[in-house]
Symmetry: D3
Subunit: 168 residues, 6 copies
């Protein structure tokens, strides 16, 4: 099985890591597609594609996971052409793992096998919760792998999110 995992990874958290580990164990390889690559510096999408790419690379290296490809993917804003766009930008895959209902539907209509991701402890393991805690000054580090926390601090991500939230 060659798997595709779609996400925005704003940021990559422990729930994502668990999913990646589970899939990578079963798959020949896993293509991790960082969506909305053109976005950054917003409350929903604070980190650049490059920052997210670096986060995931460092975590997976630390975990010893090697059978994956990491790609960034800009939004197309034409959903009927989205599957073709993804296919053209990634190594080939035959199973799709996704959480977003739109992606699930589009890949299903295109005839792919799609696995709907169950969120692992959604009240804790979600990008929304990580971002909320960063803005609120609560303990967000426990929700992400330590390499992610390091990068967020390196790029002044806490200050960035808090600044954006001030009157956003």
């Amino acid at each position: 099985m060659r798997a595709l995992l779609l996400g925005r990874f704003q940021p990559f958290h422990k729930g994502h890591l668990k999913i990646v580990k589970d899939i990578a164990m079963d798959a020949e390889y896993l293509v991790i597609a960082i969506g909305s690559a053109q976005e950054s510096h917003s409350l929903e999408n604070p980190f650049t594609a490059g920052e997210r790419y670096t986060m995931i690379s460092k975590v997976l290296k630390a975990e010893g996971i090697e059978n994956y490809f990491l790609v960034t993917m800009e939004d197309l804003h034409r959903y009927a052409a989205w599957v073709s766009h993804v296919v053209s930008q990634t190594p080939t895959f035959d199973v799709v793992y996704a959480h977003n209902p739109l992606s699930i539907r589009l890949f299903t209509e295109a005839g792919y096998k799609v696995v709907e991701l169950e969120l692992y402890e959604p009240e804790k393991c979600s990008g929304t919760e990580v971002r909320r805690r960063i803005i609120a000054g609560e303990n967000w580090k426990e929700l992400v792998p330590k390499e992610v926390a390091e990068i967020i601090e390196e790029v002044n991500g806490v200050e960035r999110l808090q600044d954006l939230a001030e009157r956003g």
Copy 2:
């Protein structure tokens, strides 16, 4: 040194491989940016970003090179914002290797150290020559790593280029 190598890699050939090996030996890591990612199926840009990503991954795995990051990069068509765009889409870098005069100029104006790539045997090691030979039915396989030749055949790349050339 953390290096950035910019190219379109249409396709990745032995000249590219030599450059990558040289840089990877000296660098902490090398970011390989596949440009014009939105392009494919044209005489200048026959292969999709996903096909090019797969080519490079397979070759570097076979070569045992591990200290690199591979990213795809869409054209922005606003050159004054190009450097910022590249920076936002890639792991950080401090030296830029490029062949294209525009990239060289833009990164130079932005204050980066830029190394202008000397083409290694340009009459043989260029994407233009590889594509010409594919269309003409000449020996193109000697110009590319064998993993690249395999992928080109898997995706019917010879037929694709010859069809596009017919009356293009």
Copy 3:
């Protein structure tokens, strides 16, 4: 009178049909412009431009209406140029029928005669209500011509909308 009717037709319902019949009776011809043609697979815009085109064609054929032109129209996201864009994409017209306040205002400023559409039984004849009923599993078929119901079923439109609504 050569009329333009602007709408998104998500989907084409009995209220639309009544409007088309009324205009077509008075007009030399009616240009029906399917707006937001690039949209599909969302809760607001579930159907592709091609699906909407097919719906309208089939209904009007069944109704024996022939004096119309059917065009699809992508959003421009520059309202000051919208009228020029519409004019460039359609057969000529001199009266505009629209419901959307933006279209009404833009064509009025451009000097066109504009007729503001009164919704016929708005609590029943609106795309919003049709989509709500499809998602809720209520009786939506009574709101649309039977050719539209057939196409929605052919393209698995009920499943599509319900899937998109699940956690949208």
Copy 4:
């Protein structure tokens, strides 16, 4: 058979008409897709999508051809997503008629049956030749159906092309 005919129709000429008549005779219906719909007022693409739509409608009405759908189609500039884009914008089809090598290749890779159009008397029946004659002040009217000639005159198409050619 439900056929798709792709073209820019700048303008629709007698060669196009012959093709349409041949296909319409065999097909359940024919989808005529007017490509590069966003283009106009250039030497290659002098006529707007609306003008081209009107030309084709009038000619086919005069010919008594009824089993066709006429759609306009903007360029996507992402060839790997082009087939999906076309499919999303048109009634369904199963055979593609095209002259352009890119379209032929893309629909072939997508698994469609593709018929490569032989140009009928290419030295006379081509948009390039019609435009050349208009600019040169030669006899262009013999190359197009009379409804097309009428529309070109109505929109001052001769003057438009000659003006654009002056120093273009």
Copy 5:
């Protein structure tokens, strides 16, 4: 000091004027950048870039302020490249005056000196309040310089906003 003032100026009101006067007094010159230049005819952005440009020019002429440059700036929708885009579209500047948290953050990350604008009497001096009063038919003229009121009336701006608000 060469200052940049960023805003949408929908419309230019007395609070803006006070800010411009304060900055212009201290600065060698002031670059006034009219953002979201592609927007118009919406409740948030009723006036075209051209109308906003004219408003500001007339007011500053009446005020006798001469040391300013006025530019229009389209949105880029790629925040990581926004600073480069602004820099490329304006005369050079070294201090940025802004109210929007995103602009403040982006220019801060890029190393600029940024002055966060305090709104002067925000309950009265805000574009939101001016637009609300126009729609509600309340006294909006007291909030804007008289040249702005004249232009809004010339372009039928009251009617435009009220029409857009009707069912927006």
Copy 6:
């Protein structure tokens, strides 16, 4: 008369200055629209919109010309909507001065009075010739106002163009 002058001004040369002086003398005011504002760092369009804006401002200040407005204008790539776009981005005008056949045609079709600019000494006063001389290391300064020469040197424009030309 309120005039619009369209150009790319790559760079602003003595021919442009003569035209501006002639028009400004007759007009109530002159709107100078810097086209292709998104372009820079290419052989055809070496200077950013901001650099071009600064050039023109400085020259006209030195000349004592005050009755003008200076705007930048991005390309729209939809010619049928171009006039509307220009109108929405500029103070109002009633006569158009242009050299480019496309602009002349589009504004003529839109019903504007258009004056076709005669080039003043075209072998010397053209952007093409200025750029050619800069690249060739010939005397280009005699072709441009001295403020333009100063800005080109400040932004290292000679080096920029020569670098871009090297293998472009």
